[in-house]
């Protein structure tokens, strides 16, 4: 059996794997709100800053 069959089969399986991941993501509502997460991810940095500031002021 030629290696090409194996390779293509694997590549299709991998592709299907990603496709299933996509469907799951849609199903759990990840794509329902595509704006808020883009803002939310910027907050974490600010929070650490706020902690640092507080420490400074305590000193």
């Amino acid at each position: 059996m030629s290696v090409i069959y194996l390779l293509i089969t694997i590549s299709i399986i991998v592709a299907i794997g990603f496709f299933i991941a996509f469907v799951c993501a849609v199903k759990t509502g990840q794509y329902d709100d595509d704006y808020t997460p883009s803002v939310r991810m910027l907050f974490d940095d600010e929070l650490i800053n706020s902690g640092a500031k507080k420490n400074k002021s305590k000193k």
């Binding site: 293509i8 299709i12 592709a15 496709f19 199903k27 709100d33 808020t36 910027l42």
Partner: protein, 803 residues
């Protein structure tokens, strides 16, 4: 006087009211309190993301008492268990990243809340909390106290699980998956090299392609078969017929090719076609999830109301449970949900929800109150005459126009083209078949299928979605929100525009006021202003704001000093009586100052009497929106204009002067009459656009071909309509209409373009030369040209008059 802006809410600070806290200035105690809450909880980062993001909190502690009622509260919950509950609240104020940040850090303010998540486009916050620690009422009160008052209305009462239709996303995902893999696998076939390696694996590749195209063909494209079938049964030829026909023929021919080993088939083009067309569909659907175009009275009505039991105890009950004879208590700013009779207290009812008229109407005990009014001032008691479903306002909704499902009888431009397209296409296919059948049977079948394949009007079908989708976005950026893409087509067809008066062409934010009578001395003006300052009546506020401009400059007097007021009495429905620096001042209605009411002009006026001497009256003139005259002048060139007003004709002369000749004016129109009027126009064959604002226009908006609702604040309320226009963009209406015309022109131009592609493709097909490779080139090429053409054109037209 240089104006400073409030650190919290960004409004101008009136110098006298300024509160300085933590070396920051605030416009009122409310804003300061919010800042205090945030700073003590280490949440001042709120102010770092956005400048002055806040809103002044509304102090209305009693307002949410009904949430104590277990059965009402539980209706609002999404999920409930002993120690976990989830509630979704709609908060109209959500507008910036600061809002998201503070609302997602609610757990730092309230221990009972475990997490909260904001959905920005929908302006909703989803809070997970522990009902044993914190109640819904305290969460709602907490949100109100930091300026994020949730909007809870009757609409929330039946919050079933709303299922979102995600099938288009799945279909698109499947189509893209198949398209990508099929393209990859068919690549070797494009180079017709006689090579051992290619020959060896050709069968394997082809069968794999065949298998991969199955989900795309059977699942992703299924919508087109259904639509085509429906259109055949209803005998209306729409664009989906040639599409479905093309897809099916393409699939069968390709399957035959592969099974019989004739060639590689057209699966690459097939999956590509399905993918692009679904993409167009997706692009066209631009929803403004924070807006609702289907609102009815439910979103205006409170969910519960305070009922007074015979033993004079108070209780919150759901308004659906109200029965005839019940006594209810309406507090300040509460909406009257049912028709009834006023029992105690004098009421000042603001009917602006129903009529659009901002000036409240005073009612005496024993007067009838209609649902939809809002009480201003002291709490009143009323007896229920009719249950909610039978009340005046609700009855309006039982009119047939609201009952029937909105059927789109409207034929889209694409469908009307395809009415000619489909028969011609079939004719060409059969002609080609008829010609070749005498020469070569195999070629005849090939030609027949090739014609149907290549003529598959995918470019044609893509034109409208991409143009409309793009225009929809352009308009959305300019604060003109359309319900869907069809509205653009209907806008372009409009020939008659009907305007409502109050709240639509007039603004209730500003009002120009003039004085009639003995001219007032500056001293008197200062006295009047001092008195007005203490009053909360809308007219007092309006007058107070208006007087400030002239008085302060002239005298520089300190009218904000309250020391001088010795006595102050506000008589609801009549006026104010006060003694200031020993001067007796009376401000109010004509009867209040013992003056015979004038019959001639029914204009809103406030009469002034100082030290028992009648001085004159302030007249409130309706203020028309900026650019109204210019807008009407522009529109009158192309459209027939009409104004329907629920008011009396006091403004007729004024309007006739302002508006171009030929504008028809109608006054004293009841909501039903407005609806009937639109219907009559439509029966005359007119395409009517209705521009309105209040609930009184709701019927007319629904009846008209295009109903546009003008809203001062698009996040808050608007009746059911096809489009919502931000009031500040009112003068752009004629630009929007021109743009819709240009959109249609763009579509027609690109129809010509895509037909040219079809002709070229057909030439290949009819001569029997359509190779899979040619199809694979022509189809994406036409798609790309069409999409870029319409995008460029619609952007060009949008920028044309909007520099």
């Amino acid at each position: 006087m240089d104006t400073q802006n409030c650190f919290h809410c960004g409004l101008d600070i009136v110098k006298a009211d300024e509160i300085v806290f933590d070396s920051k200035s605030f416009c009122c105690a409310g804003c300061k309190t919010v800042y205090e809450i945030f700073s003590t909880n280490d949440l001042t980062f709120y102010y770092d993301f956005e400048k002055s993001p806040g809103a002044t909190p509304q102090n209305n502690i009693d307002k949410y008492d009904f949430l104590d009622n277990e059965s009402i509260a539980s209706k609002l919950l999404e999920f409930q268990e002993s120690s976990t509950a989830i509630i979704s609240l709609n908060i109209p104020h959500i507008h910036c990243s600061s809002c998201i940040w503070i609302l997602e850090n609610l757990q730092r303010l309230e221990k009972g809340i475990s997490t909260s998540q904001v959905n920005f486009p929908e302006k909703k916050v989803r809070i997970t909390f522990n009902p044993e620690v914190v109640s819904i009422k305290s969460i709602v009160n907490l949100l109100s106290s930091i300026g994020y008052e949730p909007h809870i209305s009757l609409e929330n009462y039946e919050t079933g699980k709303t299922t979102i239709d995600r099938s288009l996303t799945y279909k698109l995902g499947v189509a893209f998956f198949c398209f990508g893999n099929v393209m990859l696998l068919s690549f070797p076939e494009y180079f017709e090299v006689k090579e051992y390696w290619l020959d060896q694996y050709r069968g394997f590749f082809r069968w794999l392609i065949f298998a991969l195209s199955l989900p795309s063909f059977f699942y992703s494209a299924s919508g087109y078969y259904v639509s085509a079938y429906k259109s055949i049964t209803s005998k209306m030829l729409n664009i989906d017929i040639p599409i479905a026909l093309g897809i099916v023929v393409m699939f069968i021919r390709s399957a035959v090719d592969i099974i019989m080993d004739y060639g590689s088939g057209f699966f690459d083009s097939l999956t590509g076609l399905i993918f692009f067309m679904l993409l167009g569909k997706m692009f066209q659907i631009k929803t403004y999830s924070f807006l609702s175009f289907e609102r009815d009275f439910k979103s205006y009505f409170p969910i519960a109301i305070t009922k007074i039991n015979p033993d004079s105890s108070e209780e919150s009950i759901a308004i659906y449970e109200l029965q005839k004879g019940d006594r209810v208590l309406i507090r300040n700013q509460e909406l009257i949900p049912v028709d009834g009779v006023l029992i105690s207290g004098k009421a000042e009812i603001d009917y602006s929800f129903v009529t659009g008229e901002a000036v409240p109407i005073s009612k005496q005990s024993g007067d009838k109150l209609f649902a939809g009014g809002k009480q201003l001032g002291k709490p009143i008691e009323m007896e229920v005459l009719k249950s909610v479903s039978q009340s005046y306002l609700t009855q309006l909704w039982s009119n047939a126009i609201f009952q029937k499902e909105v059927t789109q009888n409207h034929k889209t431009i694409t469908d009307s083209i395809s009415r000619y397209f489909t028969p011609i296409l079939l004719l060409i296919a059969f002609a080609g078949f008829g010609y070749w059948i005498f020469i070569d049977t195999t070629t005849a079948f090939n030609v027949f299928t090739a014609v149907l394949i290549v003529a598959c009007p995918c470019a044609l079908a893509l034109t409208a979605p991409f143009t409309f989708g793009n225009i929809l976005r352009i308009l959305g950026k300019q604060k003109f929100y359309l319900k869907n893409a069809l509205v653009i087509e209907q806008l372009a067809k409009v020939d008659t525009i009907v305007f409502d008066k109050t709240g639509t062409i007039t603004t209730n934010k500003k009002s120009s006021i003039s004085f009639e009578g003995t001219s007032l001395t500056d001293e008197n003006l200062v006295l009047i202003k001092m008195v007005l300052r203490a009053s909360n009546h809308p007219l007092s506020r309006m007058l107070y704001d208006n007087l400030s401009l002239t008085v302060i400059k002239n005298t520089g007097a300190d009218f904000t000093n309250e020391v001088g007021i010795d006595a102050f009495e506000e008589i609801t429905g009549k006026g104010i009586r006060a003694i200031v620096f020993g001067n007796k001042i009376e401000i109010g209605s004509a009867s209040f100052v013992d003056k015979a009411p004038e019959e001639s002009k029914q204009q809103t006026s406030v009469h002034v009497k100082i030290n028992d001497v009648y001085l004159g009256k302030f007249l409130f003139h309706t203020q028309y929106r900026d650019g109204l005259a210019v807008l009407f002048k522009n529109l009158s060139k192309q459209y027939q204009l009409q104004v329907l007003s629920g008011d009396n004709d006091g403004e007729r002369a004024n309007l006739e002067q302002l508006l171009p000749k030929g504008t028809e004016l109608f006054f004293n129109q009841k909501p039903e009459e407005k609806l009937e009027y639109i219907k009559t126009l439509q029966e005359q064959g007119k395409n009517v656009m209705m521009v309105g604002d209040g609930l009184n226009d709701a019927g007319a908006l629904a009846q008209s071909n295009v109903g546009i609702s003008i809203s001062e604040n698009v996040n808050v309320f608007s009746p059911a309509c096809d489009a919502i226009l931000d009031a500040s963009e009112f003068d752009k209406l004629s630009y929007f209409l021109t743009l819709s015309h240009n959109a249609m022109r763009t579509i027609k131009m690109s129809f010509v373009l895509s037909l040219l592609y079809n002709v070229v493709g057909l030439l290949f097909a009819i001569t029997g030369n359509l190779l899979p490779l040619v199809a694979a080139i022509i189809m994406p090429l036409s798609t790309i040209t069409i999409v870029s053409f319409v995008t460029i054109m619609s952007n060009y037209y949008a920028g044309k008059k909007n520099n």
